[in-house]
Every structure is written in structure tokens, then in C-alpha cells.
């Protein structure tokens, strides 16, 4: 037996970890969006029966698309750590793989959400309904690129936050995990505000003269996501596998 065969490049274990976690999240995403489409269709039929359809119903799925993967990632971060380490992999590859998977998941949710909104708008137009987004989504809410960038970045922050909340509970226990929620999950609410038009001082629509609100908000969201990713990486690299009794 040669010990050298045990050598394995870092990139491949990061890729394996990322794709494994990504597929798990995409599997759940498929269910999420199938259920969302069914719910929106039923909702539209019902509203059309009792009154007048005058705003997007699908837009409300954004809250679910933020918080559902967020909670899934909290759970998987705690549960997957022992499995990953026990398989002879490094914490480094776990941290990087998880971040890549969270970003990929956010991109998938962002693309599907934007795509479905466009489909919904086309259906509304065909049926002569008024399509608008009640929830204050983005500075230019009907622009597809703006919707895509805004929601995807919001999801990125939310999902990285899920990882961070998960590892904080794992490292610090229930009490400190809860106490630090404003730091670990609070940034999601901040990014909601950054992309909103009417969120007081947090709304980026007035910053730097208000010329490029999307750019400013995106930059701020990326900074926040980066800081959280850094914290997640640090905490993961020092994590112990807890003693679990069967």
C-alpha cells in the first residue's frame, strides 16, 4: 500500500463538498418552487373569483425563498460537520464548499424567482390584469436585471447568514447562539432595507446622490456577505466534532 495515494488536491474536496451540498439544496428548491407555483396559481384563481387581481402574488414568495433555505442551512451546518470530518476531510474544504454551495443556491433561487416573475407578468398582460409588486422590492422594480441582482444578493446574504447561525450555535451553544442572532441573522433585515426604496436611512436610493442605487446597494450587500463569510470560515476552521451519544 502506498501512502501517496492518500494525497488528494484541495480543489477536488472543495468541489465534492460544494456539489454535494448544492444538490441537496437544489432538490429542496425544486420542491419549494413547485409548491410556490401551485400556491400562486390557486391564489390567483381564488382572488379572480372574489375580486380583482391587481398585483403580483408570486412576489410574496420572496420571504419564503429567504427564510426556508436559511433554516435548512442552519440545520445542515450542524448536522454535516461530523459527517464531513469523519470522512477524512478538512474544515477548510467544508467552509469553502459550504460557501460555494450557499452562493450557488442563492443564484438558483434568484434566477427561478426572477424567471417566474416574468412569466407571471406575461400571464397578467395576456389576461389584462394589472401587474405590480406591492412589496417594495427594488428601486426599479420591474426591470428584470435589477430584480435578478437584488434578489440574488439578498438570498446570498440570507444563506451565508444561515451558515453563520448554524456554526455559531455549534461552536457557542444555545445561549450564545441566540444572543448573537442580531449579528448572525440581523444583516438579512439590513439587506432587505438596502434594496428597498422607502427604508429611511438604510435605503440606498438616496446614498451618493442616488444616481446608481442598485450599484451602491449591491456593493453594500457584497461587503456584508463577505464579512459574514469570513466569520463563518474562521468559526468552522476551529470547530470540534461534538461527542454525540447514540
Amino acid at each position: 500500500m502506498s501512502i501517496d495515494t492518500a494525497r488528494r488536491p484541495t480543489t477536488s474536496s472543495v468541489r465534492a463538498t460544494a456539489s454535494w451540498l448544492l444538490w441537496m439544496n437544489l432538490y429542496l428548491a425544486a420542491w419549494f418552487w413547485i409548491l410556490a407555483i401551485v400556491a400562486v396559481t390557486v391564489g390567483l384563481v381564488v382572488i379572480n373569483q372574489v375580486g380583482e387581481v391587481n398585483n403580483s402574488v408570486l412576489a410574496f414568495a420572496r420571504q419564503g425563498a429567504v427564510w426556508f433555505p436559511f433554516s435548512v442551512l442552519i440545520a445542515t451546518t450542524a448536522a454535516y460537520l461530523p459527517v464531513h470530518i469523519a470522512a477524512g476531510l478538512t474544515r477548510r474544504s467544508l467552509a469553502l464548499g459550504s460557501l460555494v454551495a450557499a452562493t450557488g443556491t442563492a443564484l438558483a433561487y434568484g434566477l427561478v424567482f426572477t424567471g417566474l416573475l416574468l412569466v407571471e407578468r406575461a400571464v397578467f398582460d395576456a389576461l389584462g390584469w394589472q401587474w405590480r409588486i406591492l412589496e417594495d422590492l427594488t428601486p426599479a422594480e420591474t426591470e428584470p436585471l435589477t430584480m435578478l441582482v437584488g434578489t440574488t444578493l439578498l438570498f446570498v446574504v440570507a444563506y451565508v447568514s444561515g451558515l453563520l447561525v448554524g456554526i455559531t450555535y455549534q461552536r457557542a451553544g444555545g445561549w450564545w447562539g441566540t444572543v448573537s442572532l442580531p449579528l448572525t441573522a440581523g444583516p438579512i433585515l439590513l439587506v432587505f432595507a438596502l434594496f428597498a426604496q422607502d427604508a429611511g436611512p438604510f435605503s440606498t436610493s438616496e446614498w451618493f446622490g442616488g444616481d446608481q442605487p442598485l450599484l451602491v446597494a449591491s456593493f453594500a450587500a457584497l461587503l456584508i456577505a463577505g464579512a459574514m463569510a469570513f466569520a463563518f470560515d474562521r468559526l468552522t476552521r476551529g470547530a470540534s466534532v461534538p461527542n454525540r451519544t447514540a
Binding site: 492518500a6 494525497r7 484541495t10 454535516y80 469523519a86 470522512a87 477524512g88 478538512t90 470540534s240 447514540a246
Partner: protein, 298 residues
């Protein structure tokens, strides 16, 4: 070389205020089946957890194949720790866990895994949280052996298994070890059945190393002396007696530290010498004085 060797120097590990390991030093020879013995809470699992980088040492040095295992990709991919609780995804089918490990363990043998799954009567389509303790341990054995890692650490895995499964485990362990020699550490507090499988033994007690040697030396260090009570007492003067039994006028004393002239002296005094099973020796060595029960509670 076959398998990773391990060097542990002054290893201390603390959990908050509890000291699990106190400046422990020992060596595990590459390519050898070693027993890590100790009572519950003696620090076995903590020591193995540090070797497999499940947790960090508080202080001290641990070298696996000459390197610090912490975040060491080469060493970690060649180290497999199977704890009794089993660190596998609880909501995944066993088959999926084997697929997962096959993609991650460079030397993983799916063929061996499938053979062992059959032998232990494990259904690849069930999930770990549906398994009995014994079956879950058996799956741990499948994972540990099929990974064929140069350093395989099996922590109390055989305890929950029924007798036929345990024998199947011992047979599979020996057969596969002969074909693919590697370093294997079996940790346990119950060693009766495994003692003959061991070449080396490290005994931990209350976070320190009680003894570390080859199994034969440890075993031959123990001897029982049986015969008339007075003759036995005369024989054991000045010796380390770890246990005494008496039945009528016949007494038996268990000694640690056999001497070369024991056999001839015993013959001279009409005494009989007998072996001490490693398990008994271990129980005697790690025996704690029973605290006196307070008068009131009797």
C-alpha cells in the same frame, strides 16, 4: 511502510474544567493492531478524537505519520475514526453513505463494504436512525474497514454487536488486515475477546497512561499463585498483589510482575502458577478503592 505510525507527547486535553487527558505520551507502531484500553471516562475517546483531528489538543504534540493531523489533508484522508455513535448522516440511506465515502476515501473498497453489509445483514436501503445499536455498530465496522485507511481507529465498535456479528468482525478485520496491512487501533473497556487480536496495548487510566507495551509482555506480567494459604502468603511476600481469593485452606493470589524463578520456586513449595487473562489484569490494574459507605446510609 504499511500504515501511519502515531507519536503522542505530553498530550493534555481539557473540556472546560475537566481534564480528560493529562500530559499523556505513547507511541503506536505503524502496521500493528494496537489495543487502547481503559475504563469508561479514562480518556480513550478524547485521545482518538485528537488523533483524527475531531478536536484540538489543549497542549502537547501529536504526530500522525510524522505530521500534525489538524487540517492536514494528506493525514486526514488516511485517518478514519469510527466512534460508537457513528458519524454518518442519519437521514441518508446506508447505500448513500457508502457512495459518499467512496467518493471521498481514496482507498475505499466498495467490494469489501458490500461483502460486509451482507455478512452483518444490513439493508443498504435503511437509514442509520432506524437501526438497532448493534446494527449501527456493525455499520461503523463496515465504514472503518472498507475505508482501508492507513490509520483506522475503532472506538468501542464491537460492544453493541451480538456474538455472531462480533466474530464476523474479528474475522473480517484479520483477513483484510493481512491483505492490506495498516495501523489499526481498537479501543475498549471489554477486551476478553479481542485480546488475542492485539499485538500492542496502551492502557489509559484517569487521563494518564498506566502502561504501554506489547500484549504478550503485559499478559505474561500477570500470574496467579494457587495452593495452601500459608505457602501462597510466603510466596507473595514483597510482591505486587492485585487480588486475593480464598476457599477453605486453599488460597489464590494474583501478582503483577512475574519473575524468571517463579516456576521453580512454585514447584519447590507445591504451588501452582496460572495465567491471568488480559481483561482480569486490566480490571485489577485500573481498580479503584471502593469508597467506604457512610454509616447512616447502610
Amino acid at each position: 511502510m504499511s500504515g501511519f505510525g502515531v507519536e503522542v507527547r505530553d498530550l493534555t486535553a481539557r473540556y472546560d474544567t475537566t481534564v480528560a487527558l493529562d500530559a499523556v505520551s505513547f507511541t503506536i507502531r505503524p502496521g500493528v493492531i494496537t489495543g487502547l484500553l481503559g475504563r469508561n471516562g479514562s480518556g480513550k475517546t478524547t485521545a482518538l478524537s485528537v488523533l483524527a483531528a475531531f478536536r484540538r489538543a489543549t497542549s502537547g504534540t501529536v504526530l500522525v505519520d510524522g505530521e500534525d493531523p489538524w487540517e492536514n489533508e494528506r493525514v486526514l484522508s488516511g485517518t478514519c475514526l469510527v466512534r460508537e455513535s457513528g458519524d454518518v448522516a442519519l437521514d441518508q440511506k446506508l447505500k448513500e453513505t457508502l457512495d459518499f465515502l467512496g467518493d471521498r476515501r481514496p482507498l475505499f473498497s466498495r467490494e469489501l463494504a458490500d461483502t460486509l453489509m451482507d455478512r452483518f445483514e444490513l439493508d443498504p436501503l435503511t437509514k442509520p436512525n432506524k437501526l438497532s445499536r448493534g446494527k449501527r455498530s456493525a455499520f461503523g465496522v463496515v465504514v472503518g474497514l472498507a475505508s482501508r485507511t492507513p490509520l483506522t481507529l475503532l472506538d468501542e465498535v464491537h460492544l453493541g454487536m451480538d456474538a455472531p456479528s462480533r466474530y464476523a468482525f474479528y474475522d473480517a478485520l484479520l483477513t483484510d488486515w493481512l491483505e492490506h496491512p495498516r495501523t489499526i487501533v481498537l479501543s475498549s473497556h471489554l477486551i476478553g475477546e479481542v485480546e488475542r487480536l492485539l499485538e500492542d496495548v496502551v492502557v489509559l487510566d484517569r487521563g494518564t497512561v498506566l502502561t504501554a507495551s506489547d500484549a504478550e509482555t503485559l499478559r505474561s506480567g500477570g500470574v496467579t499463585v494457587t495452593g495452601p494459604a500459608e505457602a501462597v502468603e510466603a510466596f507473595v511476600v514483597g510482591r505486587q498483589v492485585v487480588a486475593r481469593q480464598q476457599l477453605g485452606r486453599t488460597a489464590q493470589a494474583t501478582l503483577v510482575g512475574a519473575r524468571d524463578d517463579d516456576a521453580s520456586r512454585a514447584r519447590q513449595h507445591g504451588l501452582e502458577l496460572g495465567p491471568v487473562a488480559l481483561q482480569d489484569l486490566f480490571v485489577h490494574l485500573t481498580d479503584r478503592p471502593v469508597p467506604a459507605i457512610p454509616e447512616e446510609s447502610r
